[in-house]
Symmetry: C2
């Protein structure tokens, strides 16, 4: 019996897509320049049992399985491999429980981040992790990639909100990890092992997430700097002074101009760097005033507090548009995601500018400055082979600089296909060997998302 027939035996007809024109549309996430194969079939299960059937079938037939969420990732982790089963979890999208006393939500993996956020808001709660794709990305994808967002500087990343999981293993067995409780130390932390494992260890079919009380509205300011050194210094002073902004973001002039060109935001274009800071504390105006003073002491040429929450939201909106706006500069873009200790932020930004000059390229930079997480965006035209070569070399050089400054090659986007070689460099051979050993424990046949991560 062939793969499709075997799958059909345990799945409703509408859960199986086999038309190559359709399955081909599931071949890639949003990463540029990552290999993707042709899926044999796309499966859209609605139940845990259906996922188990898929994995049992894949194990029996030794067929690779690529788990997918909304495919908004930017490292190729969700890209198909030839002949694989694409296992799309987007139809498993129920919110099963929201509990204000225990401050948890129990969800299926296909729930969209923003849908969950709004649902818990109605109970006076919040689910802070907010990747920029939050209107379309799924919680399962967020867990697979250990996604970050703008709120991380105060509220942390996805990993910190995952209390427990239900996971279908490569052979179809269902296990539970973690807990519904606020604390727990029973055994090894398998939950965290699955978070960020990019579908290489198992298929998450249910998650218990920690929630916070509703977040207060935030008030923002924008500070202008004529050098990355001064902006980096301001970030250092803000953090060393004990502030915990709800957001501390940075855009360079290239990003600002791109956003203005796309959306007529009227952001100031005359200076090198804009720093956005926001607070959701009981007295945000006082905190912003203190931060404004620190920015001025670090050399800000201008500090402009937003008049109100609405104007603050507009500033954050501008920051959220940066990726899309920069994508319009050139036909293609490589997205770096280097995170450095925040004391090295200025060095990282200066280094990225020097690399842009060296390779004669446009590299726009925006950054979650408070985390030291920079996104140098290398804009180029793939029709020009020399420009593409320079783009790729600069992309690598940026990662090398990040490692040299004590950082990591990926703060929040993950490894996928894009940074596999670089992960080996960051981990070293002993680290890679341990990764392979763990992979072997969970997926002895190597059918789960092969060729990703390492």
């Amino acid at each position: 019996m062939d793969l499709i027939e075997r799958l059909r035996a345990g799945l409703p007809a509408e859960a199986l897509l086999t038309d190559p024109d359709v399955t081909g549309s599931y071949a890639r996430d949003m990463a540029n320049f990552c290999d993707a194969g042709a899926p044999a079939v796309v499966v859209l299960p609605r139940t845990v049992e259906q996922v188990q059937h898929v994995m049992r079938t894949a194990t029996e037939l030794r067929v690779p399985v690529v788990p997918q969420g909304a495919r908004t990732g930017v490292s190729g982790a969700a890209n198909a491999v030839d002949g694989c089963i694409v296992l799309s979890l987007v139809k498993m999208d129920r919110i099963l429980e929201i509990n204000p006393v225990d401050r948890i939500a129990v969800v299926e993996p296909g729930v969209v981040n923003a849908v969950l956020s709004r649902a818990v808001n109605e109970h006076g709660l919040s689910y802070p992790p907010d990747p920029s794709s939050w209107e379309s990305c799924t919680i399962g994808g967020n867990i697979g990639t250990a996604a970050g967002g703008l709120c991380c500087v105060k509220y942390g990343v996805t990993a910190e909100y995952v209390l427990g999981l239900e996971v279908v293993l490569a052979d179809g067995r269902l296990i539970k990890t973690g807990r519904r409780t606020a604390k727990g130390v029973a055994g090894y932390d398998l939950t965290r092992l699955f978070v960020g494992s990019e579908g290489s260890l198992g298929v998450v079919v249910r998650a218990t997430l920690a929630l916070k009380p509703a977040l207060p509205r935030q008030l923002a300011l924008v500070a202008e700097f004529d050098s990355v050194t001064a902006a980096g210094e301001a970030v250092c002073r803000i953090m060393a002074d004990g502030h915990t902004p709800s957001l501390l973001e940075l855009m360079d002039r290239t990003s600002v101009r791109a956003v203005n060109a796309m959306a007529q935001m009227g952001l100031p274009e005359t200076t090198e760097v804009l720093l956005l800071a926001a607070f959701d504390t009981p007295d945000p105006a006082a905190d912003l005033a203190a931060v404004g003073t620190l920015c001025e002491a670090a050399g800000a040429t201008q500090v402009v507090p937003a008049d109100d929450a609405a104007e603050s939201e507009l500033l954050l909106q501008a920051r959220r548009l940066a990726f899309t706006a920069l994508e319009r500069i050139k036909p293609a873009m490589l997205i770096d995601d280097v995170c450095v200790p925040r004391s090295q932020l200025a060095a990282m930004l200066a280094g990225a500018a020097a690399i842009a000059e060296k390779y004669d390229l446009t590299i726009g930079v925006c950054a979650h400055a408070g985390d030291g997480n920079t996104h140098p965006l290398v804009c180029f035209d793939p029709a020009d082979p020399d420009e593409e070569r320079r783009a790729r070399e600069s992309f690598d050089e940026i990662m090398a600089l990040g490692l040299q400054l004590g950082g990591t090659i990926t703060g929040e986007h993950g490894v996928g296909v894009l940074k596999k070689d670089w992960l080996a460099r960051e981990l070293g051979p002993d680290g890679v060997a341990l990764h392979r050993g763990i992979k072997q424990v969970f997926d002895p046949l190597g059918i789960l998302n092969p060729g990703k991560v390492f």
Copy 2:
């Protein structure tokens, strides 16, 4: 060449203890009723290289190694096994770096928790995790056991503060995990795998820890309840109302009387349960007033706010004394550590009381109520075999109840020797098999802390 000689070849004389009277004193942590063997030798290394030498020697000679901190643990995880090398990390006690901009500290494993806390305080920073043994326990031990404390309800547990590790593997190789950065998702989360693994996967020789800005002083109140149901209801209302106290602790009448008897604290003894709540917010008095009202609505018979920070500290001091005070009631005590969803706290407390009555035992209960983490303390006399049998049965019945209520057998104390059988029950056979597989990857010869965890 025998073990001692081989060890001596790479260690200074003062780092080796071989006198059985001396090595015997390293045989146990603070857990009662856990097996402990006789160490062949105790090693007190001062450098990473010395730890590597020990592990290489142990691998060559197939000798078990039991890593130890200050042996303040309460589950027997640090207990020696016969013929083992006790690897005590207490002499590796240097604070290598405190960085206020990056908000990190880099420390050796033997640094005492309170020593680190005070050192970072001097830089305007805090290291929140505060197990009750914080004046003597080490950071390495805190990492090994994933220790909790009183502050967890607002500031989380040890695991949330460990960014990166240097670990000597079973065969003596040194690996680095994690990062110095605020964020990072490069590869599997090996850091979290080591946290709470009770020395069974490797020997932590260096840790990069996240710090917070200095914590404000807290203000507390005490609320009295005449039933655990009412106290549990108060906890639910406080959390459902969106409060985040810096501390939310509970003591039953047995604990209160024991503390008064030991330390003449003058706590009210007439009611069933005392709830202590504290806030370190900008306006703690307002938050306490709101919480006081919620307590009254839940049935508190009395709500008494502390006059000032000093009086608040005295209340917390009383809570911290509870373990010691209860130990005086009977010659022996079994310490449970069941964590339930906080919505189940009242059911857990009522269940513990029923179990005490059923077995005709004194079971004092204190709890990190805000986390649902209860410590039923079974007091008994081991000279009375029937009482000891009842004590052990009640101890088990408490864990069974915790699991039944959706909780875990250990919120913060760990598994060690004490709860091995119960871990298997919580994880199930597939979970245990994955644990064994991971153990095999890191420690193929099974020399690291054998017989612990599972």
